[in-house]
Amino acid sequence: MAEKKELYLGYTTDKAITPFFQEFLENLDEDRLMKSVCTSCGEEYLPPRQHCQKCLSEAKLTEMTEREATLYSYVIVDFAPETLSSKQPYVVAIGEFPSGLKLTAHITNLTDMPTVGMPLKLGFAKEGEGKMITYRWLV
């Protein structure tokens, strides 16, 4: 395996990076969003879990092929937690893929107020010399 690249998800200060999460981040770094699929019962998880919630078997990272979703719910964060104060206001959205899997991320290119049910597209972004990486929603 290649040397471990230093990567963080979004605006986190959490440095608890496990091998499973590192693999997720390295894929994300190359614009691939990974879900996980249980090797025993086939249950799917997004965001991915290393252990199946139902049978506790190992779940393997598998690339998401869906790119389009609809806005399930949103919030415009006007007063942010301390670590994101400089970014406020920002919009957090739960997007729902046709498969029913959901993903919580920022919408970064809104020009108008968001509405429940509006179409969203999956995007990717990097900040901080490329160490801070994320998936995001685009309209």
Binding site: Y11, D14, A16, V75, V77, F79, P81, T83
Partner: protein, 388 residues
């Protein structure tokens, strides 16, 4: 054998920005009225002394400090933590210990001291109750979780923000009549509907307060109750529930699944129905939370909670008076104290001891408490019955 258990006394500190006190003094302030009623330290077998988060003070193992400060240092104590449902989690634990016969008389006291840090820091600490790997990196503050519910609710049921503003007006109306409230002032509908945004669609007046305070109750086994009071409040039903940790994983955002479950379980244990309740204390950390609580507790059908608001059925002389002490919104929300404060309020209302006639609910025989932790991951519901 399960013994019947009653709440026999209660005490409550002033809620607010209590720069004059720490968790020590707040604990004493809540225990003092109980002590003055004759429930001295020697009468208490054991305690549950709780607070939700040590980050706010930096104090670890605080239950020992609390016990020591009020002269209960030699009685067995423990702390329960369930985020904002810490108070009722403590009561649920203590009920089990008394009902089982392990102890006869217990003090259950909750406290929180939140104002030694800035609002931004407090918001930061509370956002860490979300999933640290998947939610925290996106700055989802505590109000943001409830705003996600509000956006979805308002869209599914085509509800304007006006309804939420009316809930805030009601909370402040009653908070203004509660001398222990953090923000005891009336607000107008216009103020509530157009305040500065915090987490849109929620604004300043949709949000509860960052409060310091404490509240305590004493519970006793049935054969000991008479030693303490001739006006006991029986614990008739208890229900607890839980919900998916990540809010995106919930089957619905217009209801809190754990709250629905908890309420149902409490009614079942009590052998009572929502229509039997004469008052309710619900967890209005945000106005949308109060609206959803009407539905989860069975006071309105899904999507119809707004009718309770529009018809003012939630006022002290209405069909189901809710939070006539000002609620978390105006009375304040010291996390670990909140569930006990709700219990205290039901006791006061039942005994006809609300501070002013204008907030006294008439003839309370049954009272309901709904206390939610985080955004629904922990829920406890209690049903109380007048014992005289």
């Amino acid at each position: 054998m399960v013994r019947r258990v009653a709440v026999v006394a209660g005490g409550h500190s002033k809620f607010g920005k209590r720069y004059d006190a720490t968790m020590r003094e707040l604990t004493a302030e809540a225990y003092k009225p109980i002590f003055d009623e004759g429930i001295t330290q020697d009468k208490i077998d054991a305690t549950v002394l709780s607070y939700a988060a040590s980050q706010f003070t930096g104090q670890g193992a605080g239950s020992a400090l609390m016990a020591d400060y009020i002269g209960l240092q030699n009685k067995p104590h423990l702390r329960c933590e369930s985020a904002c449902a810490t108070g009722t989690a403590s009561l649920r634990a203590a009920w089990g210990m008394v009902a089982s016969g392990l102890y006869d008389v217990m003090l259950v006291l909750g406290v929180e001291q939140m104002n030694r840090v800035s609002s931004a820091t407090a918001t930061e600490y509370m956002s860490r109750a979300g999933d640290m790997r998947w939610e925290y990196p996106y700055g989802i503050s505590f109000p943001a979780f409830y705003a996600l519910m509000a956006s979805r609710y308002m869209s599914e049921y085509n509800m304007p923000h006006d309804i939420l503003a009316k809930i805030a007006v009601k909370s402040h109306h009653y908070g203004a009549q509660n001398p222990k409230a953090h923000l005891p002032k009336e607000i107008t509908f216009e103020e509530a509907n157009s305040a500065i945004p915090i987490c849109r669609p929620l604004n300043l007046y949709d949000c509860s307060l960052i409060t310091d305070g404490a509240a305590g109750v004493v519970i006793a086994a049935e054969d000991r109750v008479k030693e303490f009071t001739d006006r006991p409040m029986w614990i008739k039903g208890i229900g607890a529930g839980a919900s998916d940790n990540m809010i995106q994983d919930r089957p619905s955002l217009t209801s809190i699944p754990g709250a629905k479950y908890a309420a149902k379980a409490a009614y079942k244990m009590a052998g009572l129905e929502p229509k039997d309740m004469d008052m309710a204390e619900v967890h209005d950390c945000f106005t949308i939370a109060e609206l959803i609580a009407y539905e989860d507790c069975g006071f309105a059908e899904p999507g119809k909670g707004r009718e309770i608001v529009e018809n003012k059925e939630n006022y002290h002389d209405g069909r189901i008076p809710v939070n006539c002490d000002g609620g978390l919104k105006s009375k304040g929300h010291p996390l670990g104290a909140t569930g006990i404060s709700m219990t205290y309020e039901v006791l006061k209302q039942m005994r006809g001891e609300a501070d002013k006639p204008s907030r006294q609910i008439d003839d309370v025989k049954h009272g309901f408490v709904h206390n939610v932790g985080q955004s629904g991951q922990f829920v406890n519901c209690f049903i109380y019955e007048r014992g005289w």
